[in-house]
């Protein structure tokens, strides 16, 4: 593709804008501006590409832009914040799909046997990463949506299966690079599709934040691979930027769980713990103390400082607005109310922060684990809503626990912990949690939204 210098220059500006965009997005004050930089960069890149001489878009392509744009707009306007994880996963799959299709059209354009060996390598890598990202993301989407069980699927010889698929695709790659024929490319991408599904299938629901950020990273590498294939520096640099950003997020998530990325991908964590817990009932069990809505209201009125720990259960029950009302009521009575967010709470990195923001909770009272842990011993009441592993003292006390060593919110150090949980069924949430049996813990059973709303009504009645 011969480009005019002015087009090359425009693409360079777009790349700079993308870097500024990421930089903006790493800080709350400048985040919106960062996003605008991204939009402008994208507009410049597309505009410049459309003016490349000799590129006369087919009417179908124009229709695709208009249609895709409209669909994207509707999607963005309609989606609920609770569904963000699904949406992000779905969007990742589109990047993969686009890369696969572009790879195949490059191959078809060159014809069988056409092109150089290096070009074949580039096409092959692009199609493979694209296919893996696409099917992996689709499965992640279905899992997050609940259409497919979140339980990890662990085949007996899964490592062997992965290895043979890897070797199979290397063999196909060799054949394709050597011959330039279509079929090894097709077989190779089919293998990558299966590999994508299998990798994500083996990962349990609790590890979804890592999976989603990993797929985010892959979508970047995919774009970079397409850039190599099309000899387009803008795609390479942008793909590399996004790829490393996703990699950083995955790293942060893994660190927050005290696990290596290999352990997450190949460990099949998430299924074994419940079985282990069920098999060994010798956990420090005891009597669970209950508290009712009125009791909690009274306790809250008597306390000076409250910390709320939201988890995935709050998102599922869509309780964030009820929680915000509770927060406002207490703050109006002069109490110190703050939120404590664990890095891996929810199904997407930062998901809880978005939900609290959606409910209009100001972000400066929503604190990270490291910011609040030291304050917990001085806190009167901690309310845990739909969270379990992230407040489990076994992570610190029990070296045999599956989550041993994972940094957790030390809620048990506060004066009173109230845990809202949907039901009292033992083992419901997987790993047994000794927190429930601590003397300073009380359980508030019931659906998060209903339970918190009742507490709010109770508080209102006494105002």
């Amino acid at each position: 593709m011969t480009e005019l210098p002015i087009i090359t220059f425009a693409l360079l500006i777009a790349a700079v804008l993308f870097i500024l965009s990421l930089r903006g997005l790493s800080n709350q004050e400048s985040a919106r501006r960062g996003n605008v930089f991204g939009m402008v960069g994208m507009a410049i890149a597309i505009g410049a590409t459309l003016t490349i001489p000799g590129l006369s878009p087919h009417p179908l392509v124009i229709a695709a832009i208009v249609g895709g744009g409209a669909l994207g707009g509707v999607l963005a306007a309609r989606v609920g914040m609770t569904q963000m994880p699904e949406l992000v996963a779905l969007l990742h799959s589109f990047v993969g799909l686009a890369a696969v299709l572009v790879g195949f059209s490059v191959q078809l354009h060159a014809g069988p046997g056409g092109g150089h060996a290096i070009e074949h390598v580039e096409v092959f890598v692009d199609v493979l990463i694209g296919a893996l990202t696409c099917t992996g993301s689709i499965l992640a989407f279905l899992k997050l949506r609940g259409s497919v069980s979140g339980k990890p699927m662990l085949l007996p010889a899964r490592h062997l299966f992965n290895l043979s698929m890897l070797l199979g695709s290397v063999a196909m790659g060799y054949l394709y690079v050597d011959s330039g024929a279509l079929w090894p490319l097709l077989v190779g991408s089919a293998i990558a599709c299966v590999l994508g599904v299998h990798l994500v299938a083996a990962i349990g629901g609790a590890d979804m934040p890592v999976v989603v950020s990993m797929l985010n990273s892959y979508s970047g590498w995919t774009a970079a691979a397409a850039g190599f294939m099309l000899k387009n520096n803008l795609l390479i640099v942008t793909g590399a930027l996004v790829g490393s950003s996703g990699a950083i997020l995955s790293y942060i998530m893994c660190k927050a769980m005290n696990r290596s990325i290999w352990n997450v991908i190949f460990g099949g964590f998430g299924a074994d713990p419940p079985k282990a817990a069920a098999g060994a009932p010798a956990a420090p069990q005891g009597e669970v103390q209950e508290i009712d809505n009125a009791g909690l209201a009274t306790t809250l009125l008597e306390s000076a400082s409250v910390v709320i720990v939201p988890g995935y259960g709050m998102a599922v029950s869509r309780a964030q607005h009820a929680v915000r009302e509770l927060c406002e009521l207490l703050r109006a009575k002069g109490k110190l109310v703050r939120f404590a967010i664990h890095p891996v709470a929810g199904r997407l990195p930062g998901h809880m922060n978005v939900l609290m923001a959606e409910a209009n909770v100001p972000y400066d009272i929503v604190l990270e684990m490291d910011e609040i842990n030291d304050d917990l011993p001085a806190t009167d009441v901690v309310i845990v809503i739909g969270a379990n592993d992230i407040v489990n003292p076994a992570a610190e006390d029990d070296p045999t626990s599956p989550i041993a060593g994972m940094p957790v919110l030390q809620v048990w150090k506060s004066k009173l912990v109230v845990v809202n949980k949907r039901s009292r069924a033992a083992g419901y949430a997987g790993i047994d949690n000794p927190l429930f049996y601590k003397p300073n813990t009380k359980m508030l059973f019931g659906d998060a939204k209903g339970a918190i709303e009742k507490v709010v009504t109770e508080l209102r009645a006494r105002a």
Binding site: L25, Q28, H58, L60, G72, M84, L101, S105, S213, G239
Partner: protein, 98 residues
């Protein structure tokens, strides 16, 4: 030929490095918006799709290219708009007072 590849690798490594540097300290608060925005940005493959769909007019290439363009456009438009919607929700304390 190989100089193009080496130039590409050059750009790739520097790009990855810049990404790592710029984002090494992102507050947890911004993880989701960051993810949806980077997702929109990786829709830059739209540019690749456009080149692929537009460089010749044989039917198969155009059809494949157009599907790719649709997918990438959904990504770009959807990703940026949802990021903006999310970021508009993040507010500081004074606005909670009713």
């Amino acid at each position: 030929m190989s100089t193009t590849l080496i130039m590409g690798l050059y750009v790739f490594v520097l790009g990855a490095f810049v990404g790592w540097q710029v984002l090494s300290k992102v507050p947890h608060l911004l993880h989701t918006p960051l993810m949806s925005a980077t997702n929109a940005i990786s829709g830059i493959s739209l540019v690749g799709s456009l080149v692929a769909a537009g460089s010749d007019h044989d039917v198969m290439t155009t059809v494949l290219g157009s599907i790719a363009v649709t997918a990438a456009t959904i990504n770009v438009v959807g990703g940026f708009l949802i990021t903006d919607r999310m970021l508009r929700m993040f507010k500081k304390r004074p606005e909670i007072v009713r």
